[in-house]
Amino acid sequence: MNKLEMRIISKIIRELSLFHLLHGHADFTLRTKINEEETAFITTSERLKDEALKTVKEKIERERELEVETYGWELIGDIDDKSELEIVGHLIDELKIENTDTQTTLTFIRKNQYKKKTKA
């Protein structure tokens, strides 16, 4: 993995943490699973309100744009309110939502698009 990808991953972690904190979650976990193909960010927290889930889906489930990524990645991790997830939405390929009565698990998948062209 190249250094740019590492820095982007760490910024996404920061933004997802901030997202949960802004939603008032005192008890949440954030795990990452990184391999050659992709990075998964898995967050588990108390159940998110339907409106918040709708916002997350709306902002994340959009096509990834590489040109926005290279230009705006330094802004990730700097959200100021709980509905601001546009930039991270540009960097995530896939979102999975699992909801139970008490908790929400969000899995954000980021494919490694740099692996073919970058040195390990």
Partner: protein
Amino acid sequence: MNFFRRFLKQKMITPIIFILLFSMSFLTGSFSSLVTGYVDILKSPSVLISDYLYIGGFGATMFNVSTIMLINIIMLNRLKMKMTGPMFAGLFTIAGFSFFGKNIFNTIPIYIGIYLYANYQRLDFKSFMIVVLFSTGISPIVSFLIFGTGWPLYIGIPVGFIVGVITGFVLPALSAHTTRFHKGYNLYNIGFAMGIMSMVYSAILRAFDFDFFLGGPTSEVYHNELFLLTVAMSLIFIISAFVEDKEVLKKYPKLLNSSGRLVSDFIRDYGRAPTMLNVGLLGLISLLFLMILGIEINGPVMGGILTVMGFGAFGKHVKNVIPVMTGAVLATLVSPVYSLDAVGMSIAVLFVTALAPIAGRFGFFVGVLAGFIHIIITPLAYEFQGGFDLYNNGFAAGFVAAMLVPFLEAITKNGKEEEAG
């Protein structure tokens, strides 16, 4: 036919705008005056403010604008780039600044520099396309070193070319970093990054006693043609929005609720039709402000109009531009020093919209304040950066946003949380 309609939709009707601009190249004057004027444009040092309408005439300027736009449209097509908000804004900004500073000669070395950086980083060139499209705001450094220093061409051309390539090579990393300085609240972020580079270049040139404040007079002779052109372009976008989606008026308010902070892609987030409506309305609002203030359209003002329209897909909308423009106008009315008679001030009324996200996020009155401060800082920014950065307002806006935003975020955070909670 369907293919043609789909193509125009996908490209946000930019080919039609190109045809409109290109056909206007032959509206006035002879072919030979167009050629002579175009050569004069290419040989101009092009530093702020060089009005190509004054230097080369109407036909040559429109030829310069349309051909640069065409080259960039072709480049985007060849790279199979989608017409996203940033791409659209980039194309219109290039077209706008081709009225006063950009030409085919001084932009190419910077593109080459970015291409080399992409290769060095082992990334696709097209992943730097936002930077590419906005990069040429610093192209006057190339023209100045070739035509403005008095050096013979065999020295000026290689030096200008190499400095242009180095500039392009440095810009992607620098512009990604500068977003943090203003937290994405300056839409002309690359203008801020280039301002820093321009500051360094001007410091070096000052140290060697070069005179580079070479900006010349502007031409208001073509006000009527450019006024009609703007009305036509705005109406084309508005009509196209309604043709594409009859429900566009219902969808538009959602776009108006966006703060517009970087990196907002209105085409991606709200669709083509609301974005085209927004672009058209911004064109008309720009004209309305100019009419109220009695400002006649010259090259730089036309550049401002096109840039405002372009950013109608990348952060600006009717609700967030009006407060900052109002603040800018207030500053010129209140100040005994600055007046709208100066070209720099009249274009700042349009380019102040770089700060539109501040109004979008923190409200009308804060937007007015930001616009007011911007006008006062802009002339100082010009002195500071020396005129090689055509996006001087982007340089100034970076400082305004950096000063206001951290404080505003600190005092509004709790209220916002509760509201969203």
